[in-house]
Structure formats: C-alpha cells, structure tokens
C-alpha cells in the first residue's frame, strides 16, 4: 500500500516581540493569512485546521484552543488543538500530516500561536505549576533551575567549558540578524555571553532565549493539490515524537534518549540510515545554548559529546558542513514556544526552496530536519523535510 505524500505549500511568521499589541487570536490570524497568501489559497479552500499552543497559563484562558479558534480560521471548520508542551511547534505540522496523510482532507492549515506576555509579571510564573505537586513543588523549582542541572550534567560528562557552550549563543544571535522576525538578534561576542548576568549557575542571561509573543503557520496539501499549487513543494518525509517519564529526576540528564527515539522514528519513515551524511540542514530546538548541542547528539547528527567541538570548528555555521539553526533559532529569533518550533520547520522549508534570502545556505540542500523539545526534559518531536 502506498502512503499518501504530504507537502508544505505555504508558510507565514509574524514578528517575534516581547509584548505584542495583538491578542492571541489576532496573531493567529496574521500568520494564517500570510501562509494562505503564499500558498495562493483562501480560507474556504482549507478543510481542516490544527493549532498548536503551549500552556493555557500563559494566556490565562481555560480551553485556550477554543479562544484562539476564530483567529486561526476555525469558524465553521474542523478545528482541533494539539499539545505536547514545548515540543508542540514541531508536533503541530506532524498533526497536520496526520490529517492529510490519512485522507481526511487534502488541505490542512497548521497554526502555532503563543502570547507569553499576558502572564504577569513574567511568563516564568506559568512554569511554577508544571512540577509534581507533592514531590517537587515544595522545593520551589523554576525552569532555569532544572535546566542549570541538565547543563551542568552535560558539561561535566564531556568535560566542556562554558565557552564551548556559549559559542552556540554567539552563532545563533548573529544568524538572527538576517531574520525579519527576530526579536533578540545581536552581534554578540563570546565574552558578552560569558560575562552576562548569572541566572542560575552555569546558566547566564545570554545562554537563554527570551520570552516572546508570536505566531507562525503553514499550509499542508496532498500530493495532487500540492503539485497544482506550486513548482516547489517541500515534502514531509518523516515524522517522529516521543515522551519520556514525568519523573525526570530518575534519569541521567546528559543525553536526551527521547529525542533519539523520536529521531529514529522519523528517519526510519524517511528512509534515512546515516543522518549525519544525508541531512544537509538542521534546526534543533535551542531555548538554551547547550540544548542545541544536546539535540544535535540526540538527532544523531554527530557522535555524543562531539557537538561542542564541531560548533567551535565552524561545522554548524551557515557555511559549514551541517548548517545548524541558520534561522537564528530560539536564541536569536525569539522563543514564543509553539511558534518557535513551527518557525524552525518554516526555516527548513525556506532553505530547501532556496528562498531564505540572506540566510540561504550554499549547496542546494535537499534534506533537512527540525526538532522541538519540552515538558520536564521529556518530549522530542522531529520532522524530516525533503525538496
């Protein structure tokens, strides 16, 4: 039995900002409109919609999916919200793939919208209640606190220095200078990152992506429709996702096994056996600089413990052998959680179509991978795209 092929035929991203004037539904509208315009479609051509957005606590709205519905074009349509925490942005197009690959529809709109700034005084507050109410919340942990543990463990395992890690922030924030949606693009130097204010050792301010508002959208179409709409469809070749235990304190944090499992699921579907050779561009999730390295290893793009050296050697620069986060990533473009993941998928889409403008990597890339990560160091979502 042949599988139905699914292509991305249009994409849109709003500007990522700290405090958007627009509401969540309005941002969803802006991104959806851009994606439909690029695909040359109207809302009436869309049969089904799937929306991704991270916790309701950001917006302070219960059933947030229903709240965002009208902005995302959901009136009088089949509309559903998918949710795998921080991994949602890459899971949303996977959800859209299910809609089209199953034959349920030929055109599916995928929207990711995040308005973190509604959460006062700071969106970190929304993360205080992600922890187990009995075993963890009494310790009053924050996200930065637990990721400092993970970063430390990663550095210790492979004997890495802060500079090894900080090079990722330098690369990505500089890459983002060429991204029109970027919120915190900056020509920073290694010293800037190392000397930035300490949040929870070893995590410094410039090691972290910012809180952001923003939205992104893509239009997915079946093979027949895609070929009618565009000369340059980008195919969804592989999808994978994986969720580890909620008891994060029971596992060794040096390596994201769940990302590897998700990647293997996607690679198997895409027929990729040697990812480091077959993949030409990667957008691993980089909410913290060490996470890019962590995820390169989880995605099997390099040997364990090698990612920092490869970064130092320029391997992951736009002109390197494996350009990684050419968009500027969450560290440079900004991190409106679900929208970030979809922004990464869109970056691969643009790179494969050779439409990334100043960000375009050389060598006519044919295969790319995007990945997101979230929950309690727990979920990996992976998508492989092919020109």
């Amino acid at each position: 039995m042949g599988f139905r092929k699914v292509a991305i035929v249009g994409a849109g991203i709003t500007k990522f900002v700290r405090r958007a004037q627009e509401t969540g539904p309005e941002m969803s509208y802006l991104a959806s409109k851009m994606a439909l315009d690029q695909a040359g479609l109207k809302l009436k051509d869309v049969e089904m919609i799937t929306l991704g957005s991270a916790p309701d606590a950001f917006d302070g709205v219960h059933m947030k999916g229903e709240y965002l519905l009208s902005g995302a074009g959901g009136n009088n349509k089949s509309y559903i919200r998918n949710f795998v925490g921080g991994g949602t942005g890459v899971f949303a197009p996977i959800h859209g793939w299910m809609h089209v690959a199953s034959g349920a529809c030929d055109v599916c709109l995928v929207v990711c919208s995040e308005k973190m700034s509604s959460c006062h005084p700071h969106p970190q507050g929304a993360f205080l209640t992600i922890f187990d109410h009995t075993t963890e919340q009494p310790l009053k942990p924050t996200l930065i606190w637990i990721f400092a543990l993970e970063m430390r463990r990663y550095m210790e395992t492979y004997g890495l220095s802060k500079a090894d890690i900080a090079r990722v922030a330098v690369k990505n924030k500089n890459n983002a200078l060429d991204h029109p949606s970027a919120q915190v693009a900056e020509a920073v130097t290694l010293d800037d990152v190392l000397n930035s204010e300490v949040l929870a050792e070893p995590v410094h301010r410039l090691d972290i992506s910012p809180a952001s508002d923003g939205a992104a959208a893509v239009v997915l179409a079946s093979e027949e429709v895609a070929k009618r709409l565009t000369d340059k469809p980008v195919w969804i070749d592989g999808v994978g996702w994986n969720l580890d235990t909620a008891y994060w304190a029971t596992k060794d944090l040096y390596y994201p096994r769940y990302v590897e499992k998700a990647a293997r699921m996607a690679y198997e579907m895409a027929g990729i056996t040697e990812p480091h050779k077959e993949i030409q561009v990667a957008e691993p999730y980089d909410p913290f600089d060490y996470k890019e390295l962590h995820h390169m290893e989880g995605l099997l793009l390099c040997e364990r413990g090698e990612a920092a050296r490869l970064t130092a050697e320029g391997f992951t620069a736009r002109t390197g052998n494996l350009p990684t986060c050419p968009s500027g990533g969450a560290l440079g473009v900004g991190n409106p959680i679900a929208a970030t993941g979809l922004m990464k998928v869109i970056e691969i889409f643009l790179q494969l179509r050779e439409e990334a403008g100043k960000r375009q990597i050389p060598g006519k890339p044919r295969v790319g991978v995007a990945q997101a990560w979230g929950d309690l160091m727990q979920v990996g979502t992976v998508i492989v795209l092919r020109r």
């Binding site: 599988f3 999916g65 959800h95 690959a101 199953s102 969720l243 235990t245 909620a246």
Partner: protein
C-alpha cells in the same frame, strides 16, 4: 484506500461524584489495565497513545507531562489534544488511516472533585477582553442559549425537564452512573434557578472517572477480537468561535459534524438507520437542541419526541440510555468517551438491563461546553 478502524478494547473505572482513594494517575491506570487486558495487548504492542485533557482541569501547566507513566507509555509516541475524547478518537482513526500505525490507545479522565473552584475555571474560558469583564458565572451563556432556543423552536421548559427525568431514570440501570435519580418533572421545574430559564437540575453535575479505548486497523482487529465495534465515521466542527457572533438558538457545529459523519457512514435517514444515540446533555436543553441539529428530530419537535417517549428506552430511537451526562455525571474532556463506552457495550450486546434490542448502529455526539461551539459526531456499528 482507507482502512476500517475498530474498537478492540475498552476500560472504564465507573464514575462517582468523589474519588478520594484514587489519584487521577490511579484512575487512568485502572482504566488502561482493563482496556489492554480486553484487547489482549501489552502497552508495548500499542503503536501510539493519545490523551484528551485541559491544563486548568488538571491543575498543572503542561499537563501532558503527567500522561505517559500510568498508561505504560513511557518513551513512546504520546500526544495530547485539548479536545473532547471523541476528537481524540478521531485523531486515532486518522493515524491508523495513514497506514503507519496499527494500534492506538486513547485516554481521557475527569478528576473534577479535585477542583476547588470549578465555576471559576469555567468562567476562565470566557474571552478575557469581551466577556470576562462582565464578571458573570459561565452558566449565564447557557441560560441565554436555552432561552433563545426555546423561543425560536417552540420547545418548552417542561420538555427540557422531561429530558432530565428520562436521563436520570435511565442512569438507574447503569452501574457506572454517579447521578441517577427518580425525579418528577415538577422536581426539575421547581429546582433553584441557575440562570433562568436554566435551573439547577437542568445542569449535569461533575463526576470523576477514567476511560481508555484501544483502536486497531481492520486486519489487527480481526485477529485480536471476537466482537470488534467499527468506527464508521468521526467528524468534528466548530461554529462561530466568538459567542457574540453566534445564533444561540442553533447548534450549527453539531449539524455540520453530523452531515459529514452521515455522508461518510452512509446514513440517509438517521431515525431509521440508527438504533440508539448518545447525545451531549450537559444541560437538558442541549439534548433537544442537538437532536434537532443532527436531524434526528425536525426543528421544534425534539421536545415532543421526548414527551411521547420516542427517545426513551423501548422508544423509536432511545437517546442516552446510559443516563447521559445528566445521569452518569459530567466528565468534561472524557464526556464523549463515557458515551463511546456505552455505545460499545450496546453494540456488543453487553449493556444488561439497559440493552437496546438488536442494536447494530449507534451515534455518539459531544460538545466542548460553555463557551464553545465545538462538537463531534461519531457513527459506530457492529457490522
């Protein structure tokens, strides 16, 4: 070519107004073990897992963190949809239809008794800019909707009360039910006002419980199961997202969903082609409104059908023989699931005292509750 999808195992805890001895994890675990045992599958044999849940109902941000462990789904492809169980079931069918998954487990639960401020959580779903400043209890929208529906269709408050009496009586025959009762129409009509014309007994009461359903592709199902229940179609639609843009009289989401589900399942005359229906009755008037939207009753006649016993057990088309949300209890994201469990038991002819004779095809319908206009319709059959 799309493959047929079957339900090959169900697990349910039963429902109760409180469940102090079990956490939500233990409730889910109980349902999951039953479902896997019934399907004859180990969780390792399940290709993917889906949960339907909402953060604020669970008291966690990013609740999907706490999903995998008690389902045996650690390090597996697990996803959450913030939707009704029926929609999650629909996503499961889609996944099997991609040809890349053979078995899917779908879970939902309610631990409403844990929520100290249920009314406030419900009100938190109201639009923060346009509606929340009115500082109203969320039920005010249900009251407005009921008023408009009765005005435009000619159905009466008394007929709504008859829905409550029917469903709570039906629930007396359902061992899973938490809110079964022998009531009279006068009891309902004289109950305290909630948001007039909506009264206290017109609204369903919360219940705790967990549900799991195991889905399989046709080939797997034939090998696994003696009495597979086939999912002929599942469709979901949203009407106008903003309440202020809506016609309160009609449930257009249910109409759209039913039209599509009927077309796929080949249902031409629902009254003739269906043997029973499990309809969302979170509020009494909703059952009538949904019956008319779906096309089981003509506009303005759903109340009459109820009054004449056509929707009672033994009638022309029994509606909510389970007891519905009014009788079993309102289980939020699990609401559609509670009704799917009933449909599966009816179609396997295992519903005991409340069995609909010779049931072959049934309809399950769900709604996401105030303030939404989102709902799903599924057609299930044993042939």
């Amino acid at each position: 070519m799309k493959e047929r999808v079957a339900i090959v195992g169900i697990g349910v805890t039963g429902f109760s107004s409180v469940s102090p001895s079990l956490s939500f994890k233990e409730l889910t675990y109980t349902a999951a073990v039953k479902a896997y045992q019934e399907a004859g599958l180990h969780p390792k044999d399940i290709d993917s897992f889906i949960t339907a849940s909402e953060d604020f109902m669970e008291g966690y941000s990013i609740f999907d963190e706490y999903v995998p462990d008690q389902m045996g789904a650690v390090m597996r492809p697990v996803q959450t949809v913030t939707a009704d169980f029926l929609q999650a079931l629909g996503i499961g069918c889609m996944m099997i239809n991609t040809g890349r998954f053979r078995t899917i487990a779908v879970e939902a639960h309610s631990k409403a008794s844990n929520i100290k401020t249920l009314d406030e959580v419900k009100a938190f779903a109201l639009d923060p800019v346009y509606i929340r400043p009115l500082k109203e209890n969320a039920d005010f929208l249900a009251g407005l909707e009921m008023k408009r529906f009765l005005e435009e269709t000619g159905n009466t408050e008394k007929q709504c009360a008859q829905v409550v009496v029917k469903n709570k009586t039906n629930a007396l025959r359902n061992p899973h039910a938490a809110h079964a009762a022998n009531l009279t129409v006068d009891d309902v009509l004289s109950s305290l006002p909630l948001s007039l014309p909506l009264k206290e007994l017109d609204a369903s009461k919360p219940a705790d419980g967990a549900i799991m359903v195991v889905l399989a592709s046709e080939k797997e199902a034939r090998a696994l199961c003696q009495k597979p229940v086939w999912i002929k179609s599942i469709s979901w639609f949203s009407g106008q997202g903003n309440p202020w843009c809506r016609n309160f009289a009609y449930a257009d989401y249910a109409q759209l969903a039913a039209q599509k589900a009927f077309a796929i399942a080949g249902i031409i005359n629902p009254l003739k082609d269906l043997d029973f229906a499990e309809i969302c009755d979170e509020y009494s008037y909703k059952e009538l409104q949904h019956l008319e939207a779906i096309g089981i009753a003509r506009k303005g006649e759903a109340g009459f059908l109820t009054q004449t016993g056509a929707t009672s057990l033994g009638g022309l088309l029994p509606v909510n023989v389970s007891g519905g949300s009014l009788g079993v209890g309102h289980t939020y994201e699990a609401s559609g699931g509670m009704k799917v469990i009933e449909a599966v038991m009816q179609l396997r002819h295992e519903a005991g005292m409340r069995q609909v004779p010779n049931a072959k095809t049934g309809l399950v319908q769900s709604w996401r509750g105030i303030p939404t206009a989102t709902g799903a319709v599924a057609i299930l059959s044993n042939e």
